[in-house]
Symmetry: C2
Subunit: 450 residues, 2 copies
């Protein structure tokens, strides 16, 4: 092969210092998930094609990576479909399996498949790669890691409360302050649409609202009026929310939705409960955002989205919500669930840009054993292995080389200590321990080393 070997476009290698940082984030999230009683599961990278397709909308379906059938099975290629330009159908004729697109549909499949082995309410977490055939750009990759925690089989609002505390705990532990947890509720949104006279045109209402980030309020309102919607309720809520930092403003906006209506099952009461019941948050800012109109294919209740601090342009770093019908797609009805998904790769970008990774992560090796004489080192091995048995991470320089070269490796790997055994030391059954930061050194008997 003549061309330089590279990773495929949109896919990444991780060098040791990057793995250390990714592991750090995942360990924090994992610790929080376990603190809240979630247990780990894993699902295979591939799912049957029919499990995945049709669950993510037309655009999502296009982004699912299909796996080519092996061997004789490619003979089933549907050439007619190809000739007719039905590329998706052609692809399907060549592929029975696909790579998972998220962890949510596989969870639904898992819960239905294993329903008799599981105990409900079932709280699981899962931290695995997902794949999307998306155009790569900043913060968007073709392979990335999601860290999901879901609770299946209970519609208790205590779970919503716990999720808010969990999200706060993750960012507190990461020492990342200033993230905003935006909260909405599907039924509140529907109620607002009704009050704006959207009646049976709520989908149009949502579609226009979803453009807000791109086109701004004046244009959204112009389109609402054009579609025949009233904007009075919107003005009332937006006015109440005009000071977003005040919790009282949030509550006022929510109450505006409630008190203009006397129904007993007013869904805004759920939001009011959440905002009133939350114990002091230590890291995140909680914000009622009635314009949050994402994930409406799934979400039937609360909708969560986590925004990075304002000074980092990376979009959402996590999202979730309450879904009542997730397992229904596989025939298991009346099973309410709620989940959150943290985007590892984007949290990495945020911590990196804000310089929030702990400094000491880089020291993964404790000691380098310098090699002047491989024969001596061969004899030294029992002492080195005793150090390892005591939990020390020890790199033996494998061949004889100039001291400068060996210490340069130690320096680049941030190894704090060196063990040096020359002929003199070996004859005395001793060694030199050198502190590579200060240059200080002392001599120790080998028997005292471990």
């Amino acid at each position: 092969m003549s061309s330089k070997p590279t990773t495929p476009k949109g896919m990444r290698d991780f060098l040791p210092h990057e793995v250390a940082r990714r592991t750090y984030i995942m360990d924090v999230i994992k610790t929080q998930f376990e603190a809240f009683g979630f247990l780990p599961i894993q699902t295979p990278s591939m799912e049957r094609r029919d499990i995945l397709l049709g669950k993510y909308g037309e655009e999502g379906d296009r982004l699912v990576f299909k796996v080519l059938n092996s061997g004789e099975k490619v003979k089933k290629a549907d050439i007619d479909a190809l000739n007719q330009g039905q590329l998706s159908r052609f692809g399907n004729s060549l592929s029975e399996k696909a790579l998972r697109y998220d962890l949510t549909v596989p969870l639904a499949r898992f819960v239905v498949q294993h329903q008799n082995e599981l105990i409900f309410p079932f709280k699981r977490y899962q931290m695995q790669s997902v794949w999307r055939a998306d155009r790569p750009q900043h913060g968007r990759f073709q392979e990335f890691t999601q860290c999901d925690a879901d609770a299946i089989g209970s519609d208790s609002l205590l779970l919503e409360l716990e999720y808010i505390q969990l999200i706060d705990g993750v960012f507190k532990q990461l020492n990342l302050h200033g993230c905003t947890l935006r909260v909405n509720h599907r039924k509140v949104l529907e109620k607002i649409a009704l009050k704006a006279n959207a009646n049976n045109k709520t989908t149009t209402f949502f579609t226009i609202l979803d453009k807000l980030d791109k086109i701004g309020w004046p244009e959204v309102k112009r389109m609402f009026v054009e579609a025949g919607f009233s904007t009075a309720v919107i003005d009332t809520i937006n006015d109440a929310l005009s000071n977003k930092n005040e919790v009282s403003a949030q509550l006022q906006a929510i109450e505006n939705i409630i008190f203009s209506d006397e129904e007993n099952d007013n869904p805004a009461k759920e939001l009011l409960f959440l905002f009133n019941s939350i114990h002091k948050l230590q890291s995140i800012k909680l914000e009622f955002d009635w314009t949050l109109a994402r994930g409406l294919d799934y979400y039937t209740g609360a909708i969560f989205e986590i925004a990075a601090p304002d000074n980092v342009a990376v979009g959402s770093i996590g999202a979730g919500g309450r879904y009542d019908n997730l397992t229904a797609m596989f025939g298991m009805k009346d099973t309410s669930g709620i989940g959150i998904s943290f985007g590892l790769d984007r949290i990495y970008i945020v911590l990196d840009e804000l310089d929030l990774f702990p400094k000491e992560l880089r020291t993964a090796i404790d000691i380098i054993v310098v090699n002047f004489d491989s024969k001596i080192l061969t004899s030294l091995m029992p002492y080195v292995n005793a150090l390892r048995d005591n939990g020390k991470r020890v790199l033996v320089y494998p061949h004889e080389a100039r001291l400068k070269k060996q210490l340069s490796l130690a320096n680049q790997l941030k190894i704090p200590q060196a063990i040096i055994v020359g002929e003199t030391e070996w004859n005395e059954k001793s060694c030199i321990i050198k502190n590579l930061d200060t240059g200080e050194q002392r001599t120790l008997l080998l028997d005292d080393l471990a």
Copy 2:
């Protein structure tokens, strides 16, 4: 969808207790890898198709999972190839990427791609999934996890020594005794072939030898004679090895190869050095096995294979060796390397069959908070979260339910303690702590809980 949703054939879900056990094995291996100075890297699940194909032999190429091109690119389908029955060429016309088949070729690609960022000798470990479109059977899966450690950029025999100690350390930590590390050396094998008059027919010699496991010695020797090879040297070595448990027998067999020959660079000397230099092994049995003829596409020096204890029929649970030309496939020459790969899934089978998993792995949750009254529990949250901040893993039963049902969940999840707060306790700002093993319970003030 009407049919029951399932995982694809050959792919597996892992339930919480299985993830706990897999994590246990991986943590042991990871700790040993780090003790020996290996640093973690990760590579993407997909590689460019041209990186992978042609590296695993014809059979291996067939087992590589190819990923179907997305969108318009499937129009490049080579229909002529399909019509001519050239299915592999047809598949290639539809696929630019493939799922990694092992961690070794991706490592070679990684080292060449990042050679200017890496410091040599480069010791890396990598624990990730690999995929093979193989026929599923006991101990063979289409997706499985390899745990690899490789050292690139040194041909020092100290590394071979360290690998043997590392393998011993892994199985000692897993409390799995009775594994055999079979060691061979490619050049020793070639020398034996020469002595058997195989001369320029060494490939034939190796091919026949590789059938040994299936057809046994008498048939192998018959085929050797038929191919015109002498069997005298084979008898000599096998005689010396007839008592496999004796280290002296191993050394005798090796010396038989050396002393019948006066060359100075006799490769058997390397084996003699290894067998003589190894410090006491605490778990594995070391065995010279000159018939080990696997991986000869790669290996240029030492060849390792780890066999499970005799009473577990699962085949090899790890393999490795010295390779001098791995990165040469991507244009980087003269870079010697050595590596070992542990098969997580097979080690799992062995530990499971021998009942060697630690019992306490199953307790992943410390405390269940019983729910009689969601309002009380809402108010209790600050106390619960204080417990979590102190490192306790606490499952709050999310909705009100019968005590029996809640304790049944606790029992199945092996949760050792329950916190119970009824109206009486809440009014007193106290709680009942119940030991779910013994049934003992005591009352505590909530302020004293954390």
